[in-house]
Amino acid sequence: MFFVALTRSNVNPALVFEYLFQLIRILKGYLGDEFDENAMRNNMTLIYELMDETMDFGYPQNCAVDVLRLYINLGNVKPQDEPEPSQLTSQITGAIDWRREGIRHKKNEVYIDVLENVNLLLSATGNVLRNEVTGGVQMNTKLTGMPECKFGLNDKLVIEKEGQRKPGVEIDDCTFHRCVRLGKFDADRTITFIPPDGEFELMRYRVTDNVNLPFRIMPLVTEEQGLTK
């Protein structure tokens, strides 16, 4: 199955791709992870309504599944608690469209997973040709209300500013989930956000300096050749 977008003007291709990926994510949320052509055909009205809601006059709008579920529920998705119409309006048009008001959890829990991929290419003489780490911070939040979170890594720039002795890590590039206040990050490199409920990827980063290689591999391969009669 292919998802294709058409545009009449010269738009940013990243926008088009991002919208398509978001649309697939939304459809997965509504139709299940393994949806197929049949599911698409059977839920045409639902999909039409979703597309109508996520795209207005060629501009992508609210693409948060949790919020869409509040007012589009033709499929098997049932809203947990019906919101007041006035609440709904402020939710859709408000600044924080990735989280709805009035979420309650008995236990307030946050799970943080730091996943790293280490890439290495060593030459035959043992020189490092490529060595970098790409990492991501996955979060699963189960928090009540609209909490304000502040997240801290041992980022070298922050550690130096705070004047701590422990060495920090030089983070080369990073990207954030859109809930993170980028203005605040640019100003003083603090990561503050109101998290979406449930699983999401808070940030991704890349580190190229001082990588600790988990495995050293020292090969010695020799070819012997001889003649046979």
Partner: protein, 138 residues
């Protein structure tokens, strides 16, 4: 007149992380020439065998403790060929997962949650490092 080849391989692998930790799902692929006839492998732990479909000696270790050093030696006998082609010597590649270890040294210093009601939050942090493309040329 035929050429007759042999390749001898000697690989040392050192787990360069704390001895409190261990790596899981370690797979090290040592490529061998196409016309491999017979391999004799000696290694200290894990399981290693020649897998013809991968054209490599594949060494699998389920649990590799930190600071451990391991050797693998293999003598590879090659089938004689009429027109010997030079072997391209592809790189050795490794796959692994190391829980509670970060290659970059990144760790979470804090996560503060502020809410009007001021509730208590439980936090759990996990770390895992995986091999992306981890290759050593030979």
């Amino acid at each position: 007149m035929y050429f007759f080849f042999r390749v001898s391989i000697n690989v040392k692998v050192l787990a360069n992380f704390s001895d409190q930790l261990f790596a899981t799902h370690v797979v090290i692929k040592i490529p061998v020439p196409k016309n491999t006839a017979k391999t004799q492998i000696k290694h200290s732990f894990g399981r290693a065998k020649y897998e013809p479909e991968q054209q490599a000696i594949v060494w699998r270790v389920k649990r590799f403790p930190g600071k451990q050093e391991c050797h693998i030696t293999a003598d590879v006998d090659l089938m004689p060929t009429v027109r010997p082609k030079p072997w391209s010597r592809p790189p050795i590649s490794a796959e692994f997962q190391v829980p509670m270890f970060t290659s970059s040294g990144v760790h979470v210093r804090f996560l503060r949650v502020y809410d009007k009601s001021g509730y208590h939050t439980n936090r759990w942090v996990r770390y895992i490092t995986k091999a992306g493309s981890y290759q050593v040329r030979i």
